[in-house]
Amino acid sequence: MRRALALLLVAACGRPDVIEPSRAVPFGDYTEIALDATPKGHRRMVPPEAYLRAYLTWFGGLSPGDVFYKARGRNLFDQWASYLVALGLPDYAVDAPRATQSNTVMLAAMGRLGEALCVRSAEHDLDARTAPDKRVVFAFEPVANPSRDDFADRFDILHRTFLSYPARLAPTDRTDRFYALYRSVAARHQAGLLSADKAAWVAVCTALVQHPETGLY
């Protein structure tokens, strides 16, 4: 009897000879959700370091020291230490903690940095002596007094750089708005350190680098 039971146990626990494959079943229907609106926790500001890293990357992989040397002069920008708290960074010298929300001063400080870097990039990239492959931000062939289509092609390059997607997919009539900005700035800058077209591209760059989508995506 004992032998019979042991034999039965071995037979029951033994490996089956063949594993039947699962039957192929078609997937069920699914619902397409256009927008994921599920809560993801409290909204919070991206750390200022992320913004600064983005700025440094867009303008040619600069280091903070490069920015200081590149943007100094003619009151474009000055020392980083003057802006730590304004940029939202902690400043241990004055016992100020990291900012958790953006504010107008932060926008202004970022804006000043952005404008300075746009000016220096325009001076370099839009100079006739700069080889096309050396252009960092304005990576296109400049044309004087561009038509709307000429502008759109070049604006798209900047738009892809700063906002990471083509301008034609923007949810507003963005290209037309920026073309209007370009034309009115160019009209104001008939004489000055920058040519009319360079000044207008600086304005477009300055606006894109501070664009709400740039800061909030």
């Binding site: 802006y83 107008t104 001063v105 350190l193 300055t206």
Partner: protein, 438 residues
């Protein structure tokens, strides 16, 4: 007209009235302004608000041996210590400085129970009414609350110059986020722009474009408030980037405009420009609150010898602000003096020990005083008391949780209550102490 259209028009009109300071002022009382000052480091209350001149219990009063009295304008040696300054029912110490001239406008609150001797915790408790929980602040600071209630339509609701401002939670209007800066120069630096490349008109157009873009994006966003905040910030930025703002608020300009302040002061000379900034920003109706912090009061060692001088310079600065507000018309009501609508609260994180330590200084002590200068408060007297032997807070009176000393949340709740703001909307603790209110 459809009901929805009518409602939208009404709402738009109401918003316009709410947002435009001149329109608002025309229909009601002139707006109030607020100055919050944090005397950082912990002040010795026995030298100004709660003077002690006798050796009693553990109390060692200031003497000519423990502090330098040369230059202390109100020090008069009597016996071992100094002669208290009595102005009607208010008794003050010799470090009160020029505030002595304004004694009938001071509301002094003594015997504030702090239950802490930590700088970080005392600062948080004095400015938010809550102790820190771990490393974080559980509630927003008083300047942010006031900015949220009274300042969101202002261009800069709350300028916070090293003040321990805290914007906590998601219930507050994000326009009330304090503009935190290290000094006035950082503010003007941020708004300053080179005039060699782009012009003011270009920047005005850029900020208008970005504000429009943000408003358009808000309409299709899951979280429109974020884009709306950016839109309002870009609108403010457009106005602030115009050259006039940065020129006016440059240090040299402010020092020339307000020579009353002591820019060569030993302790606060470098920071005195914040007082000029506060006056100018209020005068131009750009802010609702200006909050700043002035330090150098943490005197554990022989540096205590100068503690009274530091306090004197602090109170001279506060007195200078009040005197200027007295002669400056309100920005939207020229017949009203600014001082009638400006409210000042001065706090510190705690007081200093009644006994002098072996290094000749005073350490941290869990009692405190506060100073309010506001037409909404009963002035010319002090409230609250401390133990004669221990300098610890005595019971103030009856609160809903029984008889106990007054504490920072009570003071902050009373400050909110003075402006008909229900503190319970913002604060877990604290009760409005009606006895303090005018």
């Amino acid at each position: 007209m459809k009901r929805r259209t009518a409602l939208e028009l009404l709402a738009g009109g109401a918003a316009a009235v709410a947002l435009h300071p001149l329109l608002r002022a025309a229909g009601s009382q002139p707006d109030d302004f607020f100055i919050f000052i944090h005397a950082a480091g912990g002040w010795d209350v026995t030298l100004w608000s709660d003077p002690r001149t006798e050796r009693k219990g553990i109390i060692e009063p200031a003497t000519t041996a423990s502090i330098d009295v040369a230059g202390l304008r109100h020090w008069k040696t009597t016996g071992d210590s100094f002669e208290p300054l009595v102005v009607k029912s208010l008794v003050l110490g010799p470090a009160i400085g020029d505030l002595l001239d304004l004694a009938d406008r001071l509301t002094v609150i003594n015997g504030i129970a702090m239950n802490t001797v930590s700088h970080a915790d005392g600062t948080a408790y004095s400015c938010t009414g809550r102790h820190r929980t771990g490393g974080t602040l559980p509630e927003s600071s008083i300047d942010v609350l006031i900015a949220n209630e009274r300042g969101v339509a202002q261009m800069m609701p709350d300028v916070s110059i090293r003040f321990p401002s805290a914007f906590i939670g998601t219930r507050l209007d994000r326009r009330a986020v304090p503009l935190r800066i290290a000094d006035v120069g950082a503010l003007t630096n941020s708004f300053e722009r080179s005039t060699d490349y782009l012009y003011d008109a270009d920047r005005t157009e850029i900020t208008a474009l970005l504000s429009d873009e943000a408003t358009t994006l808000a309409k299709t966003s899951t979280h429109p408030a974020t884009y709306e905040q950016v839109a309002s910030q870009q609108q403010s930025l457009g106005l602030l980037l115009k050259g006039d703002f940065t020129r006016t608020f440059q240090r040299k300009q402010l020092e020339q405009a307000y020579p009353q302040f002591n820019y060569k002061g030993r302790f606060y000379g470098g920071q005195a420009v914040v007082a000029g900034f506060a006056i100018e920003a209020i005068k131009r109706n750009l802010v609702r609150c200006v909050s700043f912090s002035l330090g150098q009061l943490d005197t554990h060692t022989a540096n205590y010898r100068l503690h009274a001088h530091t306090l004197q310079e602090l109170f001279d600065l506060v007195a200078g602000i009040v005197k200027l507000l007295d002669v400056t018309p309100h920005p939207t009501s020229p017949t009203t003096k600014l001082s009638e609508r400006t409210h000042i609260l001065v706090v510190s994180e705690f007081c200093r020990t009644p006994q002098i330590n072996l290094n000749g200084g005073r350490d941290h002590y869990p009692n405190n005083s506060a100073l309010v200068i506001s037409p909404r408060f009963r002035a010319g007297r002090s409230f609250g008391k401390t133990d004669p032997d221990q300098l610890l807070a005595l019971d103030f009176g009856k609160f809903t949780d029984g008889t106990r000393p007054i504490a920072p949340p009570d003071l902050l709740a009373t400050f909110l209550g003075a402006f008909a703001i229900d503190p319970r909307r913002y604060m877990r603790d604290g009760e409005v102490v009606k006895a303090l209110l005018a």
